[in-house]
Symmetry: C2
Subunit: 471 residues, 2 copies
């Protein structure tokens, strides 16, 4: 049923004229992979320029029962953009149509009166942020990929980021959307109101659904007033325990920083491989804070944060603080962004996870993950948005060495089990995609799966939307 | 099918022993009304003490196709707790079983490490807030009813409140829940993690579903660090236009107050009927701000707010500000809380709405509502959470006078239409319930209704949960 026929090709070429429909193997290759490095070959790639085309495609695809795989910049690290359904084993046939939303990349409206932005799904998150900031407005969600990922992808995965601690995740900023659904129905739900409780919450149901319900064609986002100033502060600690205690002290002082990033001992070691670190050798864990607010308030807030951190005798003194102004702060965040490139100096291959635990389980989780690394003789980096209990785990390994890939996979499984036994979740930000799908029955109950299947069926009765992903 | 038989009575009495099952007319009367003042007579009221009883009830009710109406303190103003299904016309038969969650009122856990609270649905919101605040924690959602309404009801309606501007609505604080579903299935979804993107978002789907999908038996809520201090400030303006301009100025300065309440001219007049107002006669609109944060930051923030407000020559000078400390601030908020009692000095009857418009449509909406009042010769109070575009509308009238009720209803309809034509929503906080159900097809599209019906069916295939409500 998913083999490309001439009829299919003709339909697609008519609907997506002038090079907006791709069939050549080298083109299909490009659109078959995402940042998970998994790949599969689709039967075609289409690049719609307007919502109507997507609706017509989804009408046809439902009738023909052709799988449809939406995609934008494909920065997804769990394979959610890969055009493959692992449940269809034994087939090497190309498995469906990839829909790239990259030609739908207009910022339709930025309203300083309504505090909303209306965008097409292919808009790069950073572009939106820069545009709204020029008008004194603020779109807080800041996934690490924001320079290259799109709003459509951010909404499809309910992306988090560093500022989620104070400002919440993408879900909190989606006010409305237009989406094409299988069968060609157009869903318009929510709107420009900051509050709305009429009917079931379809807006937040679509958010984080990983392309399994429909394809968003327009998204209305909530904006905030742009904080006048920001300040950043990096503090070093003698160990993970001391760093976690410092987090507690900050919260206990009634402070909720805009960002609170953690770097564990293995991560600091890795950063030192790339560049002489600015911290003394006794620093074995670090916290990177960002505060924001009006200028006067921010000064007081920064003094308060410094005094809270310095009040703890167990703390290595605060070693560096950058004042207000993005330029002054940049060197600190450059360190944080250096983790990914530095990680490959430890080993050439990586299994990357973004487990999340209840905040109080942070230290036990970090300790357990480090022990798992030692047990398998692998460097496992831990860092990330600890204010949310969200730990990025990089299992570094060299898969060219015999037995090492197996050890890395075993370590991943152990970490998943540890996290779930602590009341944690397999993913705080990345989603399930293909790579975590084998584990979700350890987290989701049969009742949850049954309800999700029922919901899916009311959006997508033939199961054509991104099949085999997520749930 | 919903007539009480002896068999029904025996089943219910066995499952809810020792006075936890009520059949007497005078008891049924009490549990048949909510704050909408609508009422209906159920065939029985049950008061479960544990989740298992609710699951068994919902198994039985599904088999017997008996409607089930969940309820806690029934502060709902749109009839969502009234045991009636208006689609079943012509029957005077009692229509189902009311489930009161008031005996399930335990705070199960407050964790200063995880920053979560786990509660049963019958816990009063204020009780939870006071308990968490004693431990330096903060549960921001503060619907006006918080002294008497429950967490279960707050989650079922996705309650808002004054602090929603900075902190978001109830949805943003629900991390996990346990719920009994029709057929007796138990749903446990989400948990204690502050971030979680595994599977479709059932937690937020249940939030705001007005009791139409199942009955929550346990709720896990996100907590924040308690801000060290708060300050409040009341500013008077010569008119609505000047007040709305002041809101713009505050946002433009990069400030996001914890609360920003508006009181229109008719509301100020009404307050003056009850008590000599503290503002001069030329004040025709007022804004009430609350700021919060660490003490030092708050002082700077307050100075900044005062300077922003005073910088506008059109503004009547700021006339009263209360410093940090709840006691000092209380008189200002006492004025805000006085609106409801004062309203009845204008007229004995009220139609109360909570429409919401895109923030930029605030002034046109307020102006239109005032014109509607003048046209019908009715006093219409406008006040509320204008930072969110959420306007509380009280259509005051005396229904004992000939033709007046009809005028009030006509005014309501006109306001609904005005709001929808501005891209607004019929409800920002209260929900749809019975009273707004006749209007929802003006807001929701057939595709949305179809999807909601499909979702409903996967939770509640026989349609026994709070039938006739919401969507």
């Amino acid at each position: 049923m998913t083999r490309t026929t001439h009829q299919h090709q003709r339909f697609l070429s008519d609907l997506f004229p002038q090079g907006d429909c791709l069939f050549r193997p080298e083109e299909l290759l490009v659109f078959g992979m995402d940042a998970s490095r998994l790949d599969a070959r689709p039967m075609a790639v289409v690049r719609p320029r307007e919502a109507r085309q997507i609706a017509e495609l989804l009408q046809y695809a439902q009738t023909e029962r052709i799988p449809v795989y939406p995609r934008a910049r494909a920065t997804n690290v769990v394979g959610a953009c890969v055009p493959a359904d692992p449940r269809r084993t034994g087939t090497q046939e190309p498995q469906g149509i990839v829909v790239s939303t990259l030609l739908m990349d207009s910022i339709i409206d930025i309203s300083p009166d309504d505090f909303v932005a209306v965008v097409q799904p292919g808009v790069i998150t950073r572009d939106l942020q820069q545009n709204v900031e020029r008008q004194g407005l603020f779109y807080p969600p800041d996934p690490a990929s924001l320079n290259i990922s799109t709003i459509g992808g951010n909404v499809a995965t309910c992306a988090g980021g560093m500022r989620a601690l104070k400002y919440g995740v993408t879900r909190e900023y989606v006010l409305g959307m237009e989406a094409a659904l299988p069968g060609g129905r157009m869903l318009r739900t929510g709107g420009r109101c900051h509050k709305n409780v009429v009917g079931l919450d379809l807006v937040r149901l679509m958010t984080g659904s990983e392309g399994t319900l429909g394809i968003m064609t327009e998204i209305t986002l909530k904006l905030l007033p742009l904080p006048e100033a920001t300040a950043s502060l990096l503090a070093g600690f003698s160990g993970m325990e001391q760093a976690v205690q410092a987090i507690r002290n900050v919260f206990r002082a009634g402070m909720l920083p805009a960002a609170l990033e953690f770097m564990g001992p293995e991560t600091l070691d890795c950063l030192a491989l790339r560049r002489t670190p600015p911290w003394p050798g006794n620093v074995r864990a670090a916290l990177l804070f960002r505060l924001d607010g009006t200028s006067g308030a921010l000064k007081a807030e920064r003094r308060r944060l410094e005094s809270v951190l310095q009040s703890d005798a167990d703390c290595t003194p605060v070693w560096q603080a950058a004042g207000s102004g993005p330029q002054e702060e940049e060197p600190l965040w450059e360190i944080r962004r250096g983790i990914n490139p530095a990680s490959y100096l430890a080993a050439p291959d990586k299994i990357s996870d973004d487990v999340t635990v209840p905040r109080g389980m942070l230290l036990p989780a970090l300790t357990d993950i480090a022990a798992t690394g030692r047990k398998h003789g692998l460097t496992i980096l831990t860092f990330g948005h600890v204010g949310d209990g969200n730990i990025h785990v990089n299992i570094m390994h060299d898969k060219s060495l015999p037995g090492v890939r197996e050890k890395a996979v075993a370590a991943k499984k152990e970490i998943m089990n540890t996290v779930l036994s602590m009341g944690g979740t397999l993913s705080g930000e990345h989603g399930v995609g293909l790579t975590k799908a084998p584990y979700i029955d350890n987290q989701l109950s049969p009742v949850e799966r049954q309800l999700m299947a029922g919901i899916k069926a009311s959006f997508d009765p033939e199961g054509i939307m991104n099949p085999g992903k997520a749930y």
